[in-house]
């Protein structure tokens, strides 16, 4: 029996290893398909090991493993539900060090066979590392807050909704809660701080982008460390860095403000971020213009798409902040289109961890709240 169990474990490990080898451009898929079928034939004892393996698996491998796991789970639920490892799944779910997606999957599996248990667990995810697990818990608080408001218990509603806001990582939930807090409770909020939007910049431009050439062109600001006292040959004149702060609640850096609406131009925005330690974060950027970004002089990513839409967290860029001062340089290009919906020349960026929780610069300045703040800062 022990030998059989050991053989089964070896088979499980080998199949998982085979799937974890899937590589770019379809590499390893044929072997993974064979391994996937072997996994699907396993019994319910494989479910939690498969979930655990996700932490060491890439995005594609996670999908292979997830699918095999669900086949096993559904078959067991249909034929021998008494063999479902529900207690082990709950233990796995409580281990916040595991893959966030795997834990959400564990919750969904529990919910699929025991809705009461899931409902019982849900409030406990209010501050969970998994943003998706938080969603349900925050939703419960939003409902509770609305009920309190309907009963005229404004102060209690404010406390409940503020708790919801502190835990919320979903953009739509944050917008919904902040509207309730402001309109119904009269609470002042610092949403840019909540999100971690970068509000204070220096901008330089306009440089050329005739025939969209500016995206590939290497203008002076991106040639080396930024010197805020430097002047450059711009598109039609000498240009210099000047301070710019945004008062936009979602951190929009609008180049049309300092430069007036222009077409076929390129501009740069520069800021610094103080980190008290080396740490993994995400730079989350939204932009409907062509853009590039550098962290500490290193090119991170760029994209030459114009006016196809933007949203908060449109691009999620994992990076490592160094201890001390980090420089962030963003390039944004405006194209030649003349339609009204092509006027925007802007971007927004925030610094957060992989769950969307804001990571703030240790010397973060107060959030500008009025045009006067912006003008004062820009002087």
């Amino acid at each position: 029996m022990l030998a059989a169990s050991s053989a089964s474990a070896n088979s499980l490990d080998e199949s998982i290893a085979s799937i974890q080898k899937v590589g770019p451009e379809g590499e390893g898929s044929v072997a993974a398909s064979t391994a996937w079928k072997q996994l699907c034939d396993m019994d319910a004892s494989a479910i939690v090991p498969l979930l655990t393996s996700m932490d060491q698996s890439g995005p594609l491998a996670k999908n292979w493993i997830r699918s095999a796991l669900e086949v096993i789970f559904q078959r067991t639920a249909a034929n021998t539900p008494e063999n479902l490892p529900l207690e082990s799944l709950e233990n796995f779910l409580s281990d916040t060090g595991q893959s966030a997606r795997a834990r959400k999957l564990a919750f969904d599996l529990i919910q699929s066979v025991d809705e009461d248990k899931a409902a019982q667990l849900q409030p406990g995810f209010l501050n969970d590392p998994s943003p998706e697990l938080r969603l349900g818990a925050v939703e419960l608080l939003i409902t509770e807050g609305k009920t309190l408001l309907a009963k005229g218990k404004t102060e209690e509603a404010g406390t409940t909704l503020k708790s919801a806001l502190d835990s919320a990582r979903d953009i739509n939930q944050i917008k919904q809660i902040s509207k309730l807090l402001r309109d119904k409770v009269g609470m002042e909020l610092d949403l840019p701080g909540h999100f971690g939007f970068l509000m204070h910049w220096h901008v330089a431009g306009p440089f050329d982008n005739t025939k969209r050439s500016g995206f590939a062109a290497v203008f002076e600001p991106e040639k080396g460390p930024v010197d805020l006292s430097a002047t450059y040959h711009g598109k039609s004149r000498e240009v210099a860095w000047k301070p710019y702060s945004t008062t936009d609640e979602y951190g929009m850096v609008d180049f049309n403000q300092p430069y007036d609406p222009l077409k076929e131009v390129t501009a740069y925005a520069y800021t610094e971020f103080e980190s008290d330690k080396e740490q993994q974060v995400e730079l989350r950027l939204g932009c409907k213009n062509a853009w590039k970004i550098w962290l500490n002089g290193e090119f991170i990513f760029g994209r030459d798409e114009y006016h196809r839409g933007m949203r908060i967290d449109q691009y999620q860029l994992p990076v490592t902040l160094q201890k001390g001062t980090n420089t962030i340089l963003v390039k944004a290009c405006q194209d030649e289109q003349t339609q009204t919906w092509t006027k925007e020349w802007q971007f927004q960026i925030r610094v957060c961890d992989s769950t969307g929780t804001a990571v703030l610069s240790t010397n973060r300045k107060p959030t500008p709240t009025t045009d006067t703040d912006r003008r004062t800062s820009a002087q």
Partner: protein, 399 residues
Amino acid sequence: MKSITTIIGLLFLFSGITRAEWLNFRGPSGSGISTESAALGGNFSKETIEWKIDLPGRGLGSPLIIGDKVFVTAATGPDQNQLHVICYSASDGAQIWERKFWTTGRTMCHKKTCVAAPTPASDGETIFALFSSNDLIALDLDGNIRWMRGLTLDYPNASNSLGLSSSPIVSGDTLILQIENDSESFAAGVDVKTGLNRWKIDRPKAANWTSPILLSIDSTEIAALQSSKGVIGVHPATGSKIFDYNFGSSTIPSSVAGGDILYIPSNGLTAVKATSDGAEPKKIWNEGAQRPATASPILVGQKIYTINGAGVLTCANASSGERLWRARLKGPFSSSPVAAGNFLYIFNEEGIAQCVDLSGEEGKIVSELELGETILATPSLAKDALYIRSDNGLWKLKP
């Protein structure tokens, strides 16, 4: 002209059009035509609803029909980050299996479309489900995963912030994809057995929502890839260019082929004769007034049909482009028409099914059915039924 129409008639039967299955967007070769649906008539009514089921999430892709199975995709969850491939019984709509996946690419898209916008494709043995997130998943008819690709993992700038919707198609052992956008724009031929690239070519850096179709030149199957620049013909197995029509074309409605004649939404509608000798396709006719909006044109016998932005259906002589008649339908349309026998079936965005009898001198709208849900997908035809999905549901109809 007579020779052209004869060729159209003969070659219409070519390139898999006699297959009973509905294996991709607009069915056999991307024609929108079923020659196997003789049992279908022109009566849309409540009595013709065989069954309706709820779907777990939105999707704009058409159902695939293979034997007694219907395959549908959907996207759910925050930011549409969960993908579904679901198999239903054609007999009663019962779910046979479902596979779920997490997206590995960007999910942002215009609110009208969704991540499950492309119609899957199949070779009759494997389903190839492509999503706007660039996830490409191959499953056999029993739901076993054959291979999986995350095209955004491979090509990080291959996306469109408005969403991708081009539907793939299979030719021989190659799955043909158009992942075309403003940035990392490409088309590829993927080995249906392994998921590996057979070929990959750069494409115009411009957003494009059209789908590849197949046409026949000298009994050889050619894939036509449309973009804002025009249409190129490529060898499906190698991606090598066979012809190039470079006079521009629409980026929303796709072309349709009849043998080696290609009807391109270009400067209105343009018919060209394609050749395999590298020569520029020869223009046969152009009609600026026949301007398909979102719905792709359809060729039925020797007549070509287009639907413009006002919902007007125009019938023209496929040989000459001469307009024969017009009929005002109830629009607007995102869905493309399909046809079987003498009937053309079209669904508007408000969920109204309309059937047009094409047998007379002028088209006649012979029946309508209000399904009461938003329909942006194109219907699919089986031997004895029509399948259509809304944002939330899937119907089997026997008009």
